[in-house]
C-alpha cells in the first residue's frame, strides 16, 4: 500500500469518507453542532445521492444547503423547508424504524461499537460529565449509524468504556430481536486514519486505510485487537467532484470546529459571521 506524496487533510478525507456512507433512499436525521457531519451530509446530497430526505433543526429537507446556516442560523432554513417536523414526531418516526441513517460522534467506542458519550475519566481528578443527548436511543433505533471520531487513539478505541451511553452491538450477539427493536445499529466508523466496519461477529475491523495511513499505525492507536477485512483497500482519495462540493457547502471550513487544534480559530470566524 503506497501513500500518495500529499495525503488529504483529515477533515477533508473524513468528510468525504463519511459522505459516502449515505445511500439513496435514506432518511438522515441530523444533529446540531456537528459541522463535520454536516459537511459530509451536504457532500452526499451534492454528489452521491438524489433521493435522500434530511431532518435538520426541525426542518425536513430544506433547500438551503449552507453549513453555516444549519449550524448557527437555523431560522434561515425555515423558509426553504418542505415541512416542519416536531421533536416528538421525529422521535416517533425513528422509533418506528423509518430513520435510516445518522452520524454520531462518541468519546469512546469499544470493539462491538458500543459507545460512551457521557464520561471522561481524568487521572487523580473526578471524571468530567458530558451528555449523550439522544445517542443511547438513536444507536438503538436508527437503521444504520455511522460513528466518527476526530482522534484515533487507544483512549478513544477502548477495551472498556468509562460509561456505556449507548449499546451498539453489545457483546456481538444479535441482541435486538425480542426487545421490540428493529434491525439497527452502527454500520461503520470513520476516523482520521481509516474506515472501519463490522465483521460477522459484529466486531470492528479495518475496511480501508486513508491515503498515508498504515495498518500498523491504526492497530497501535487502537486499544483492542482489531481485525482486518479480507477486502482491505485504500480509501479512495477525494474526487474532484467531492472536493468542489465540499468547497461549495463549507467555504468557511466550519467543519474544523470538530477538531481540537482548529476549534478556537473556527469560533473566531463564527463570531464574525451570522
Amino acid at each position: 500500500m503506497s501513500a500518495p506524496a500529499s495525503s488529504p487533510p483529515p477533515d477533508v478525507m473524513m468528510a468525504v469518507a463519511m459522505s459516502r456512507q449515505v445511500r439513496d433512499g435514506d432518511w438522515v436525521s441530523h444533529g446540531a453542532s456537528v459541522p463535520l457531519a454536516g459537511a459530509a451530509l451536504l457532500i452526499a446530497l451534492e454528489v452521491h445521492v438524489s433521493d435522500v430526505d434530511v431532518w435538520i433543526q426541525g426542518c425536513v429537507s430544506p433547500t438551503d444547503r449552507s453549513l453555516v446556516d444549519a449550524l448557527i442560523a437555523p431560522e434561515r432554513l425555515y423558509p426553504t423547508t418542505a415541512a416542519h417536523m416536531s421533536q416528538t414526531e421525529i422521535i416517533n418516526f425513528s422509533l418506528r424504524g423509518s430513520s435510516t441513517f445518522q452520524f454520531l460522534r462518541p468519546l469512546q467506542i469499544d470493539a462491538h461499537g458500543n459507545v460512551n458519550v457521557s464520561v471522561v475519566e481524568r487521572e487523580g481528578r473526578p471524571p468530567l460529565r458530558f451528555h449523550g443527548v439522544a445517542v443511547g436511543d438513536a444507536i438503538n433505533a436508527v437503521r444504520r449509524t455511522c460513528l466518527y471520531v476526530t482522534e484515533h487513539t487507544p483512549r478513544v478505541f477502548a477495551q472498556t468504556l468509562a460509561f456505556r451511553t449507548g449499546a451498539g452491538h453489545d457483546d456481538g450477539s444479535d441482541w435486538r430481536p425480542g426487545l421490540g427493536l428493529h434491525d439497527a445499529g452502527p454500520a461503520s466508523v470513520i476516523t482520521p486514519l481509516c474506515v472501519l466496519g463490522f465483521d460477522q461477529q459484529r466486531r470492528l475491523e479495518v475496511r480501508s486505510l486513508h491515503p498515508g495511513a498504515t495498518l500498523e499505525q491504526v492497530r497501535e492507536q487502537t486499544g483492542f485487537e482489531l481485525g482486518v477485512s479480507p477486502k482491505l483497500h485504500e480509501t479512495p482519495p477525494p474526487s474532484e467532484e467531492e472536493l468542489e462540493a465540499l468547497e461549495r457547502v463549507d467555504p468557511e471550513r466550519i467543519r474544523l470546529l470538530e477538531f481540537r487544534e482548529t476549534r478556537d480559530a473556527v469560533l473566531d470566524k463564527l463570531a464574525g459571521l451570522g
Binding site: S86, V133, G136
Partner: protein, 277 residues
Amino acid sequence: MIASRTPDRTMSLADAAGLVADGARIGFGGSWGLARRPMAFVRELIRQGRSGLHVHGILSGIDADMLIGAGAAASTVTSYVGLDELGQAPNFQRAAASGAIEVREYSEWLITAGFRATNMALPYLPWITSRRNDLARELGLQEVRCPYTGTPLLAVRAIELDVAVIQAVRCDSAGNAALSVPLDFMYDVDALLARSAKTVIVCAEEIGAVDPNMVQLIAREVDAVVHAPGGAWPGSMNTCYPVDRAHIRDTYLPAARAEGGFSVYLDEHVQQGERSR
C-alpha cells in the same frame, strides 16, 4: 347577557419569579443550549436569591449553567447542559465533577418519554430504546413486559414539575402562546414540559393577539404571562434575534471558567436588573 371575561394573566417578572419556591422542581423550555431559553426569568430568580432548585430541561444550556454558577441549583435533570457550538457549560462541568450538584442524566428521548407519561397522567411509559446502557441503569429504570407479546420494555417513570418557564415569541394577555413562529425544532416538547408542571409561566417577546393555528399552549394551561422582550439574551430567540456570541465568548465563558470568577459576572450582568434590549 354576560360577556365572557377574558382573564388577564399578565404580571411583572418579579411577581412571576415569586411563584417559584426554594427547592422547586423547575423546567425551562428552549431549543438547545442557547436558543429560546428564558434568561430574563433565570436572572430574576438569581436576583431574588432562590436556592436548591432542581433544574429540568429536555435540553438545557446557559439557563442551568447560570443558576449553578449563582449557587441556586441543587440538581440538573436533563439530557444536555452545554453552550452548543460554543462548547461546554463551565459552571455545570465544575459542579458536576465536584459533586456540588446532583446530575440526573437522561437521554433526550427518555426525558421526553417521562414528560409524555405525565401529559397522559400515567405513572410510567414503556419504551424500546436506551437498552443495555449505563444511562438506564444509573436512572434505576425498571423493566416491564407487554402482557400481550411478552416483549420486555424499559419503564420510564413520569416526570412532574412544580413550575415550567417558557420563552415565547408571542402570547396574549390571557396566556394563549405561540412558542415559536415559524415552528422550530423543539416547540412541541416545550409544550410537553409545560404540561407536566403545576404552574406554567410564559415570558413573551410580544404581548398581543396570536394566530389560533399557531397557539401551542392554551390560555387555561398558563398561570402567568410576563412581557420579557429580549428575554432570551444572550441566547437567541427564534427569528427575533441571534445568539450574542461575542458576549458569551468574551465575557460569559471566561467568567464562568475562572474559579470564583462568576460572582463578578453576576454583579455586572444579573444583579443590576434587566436592561432594555
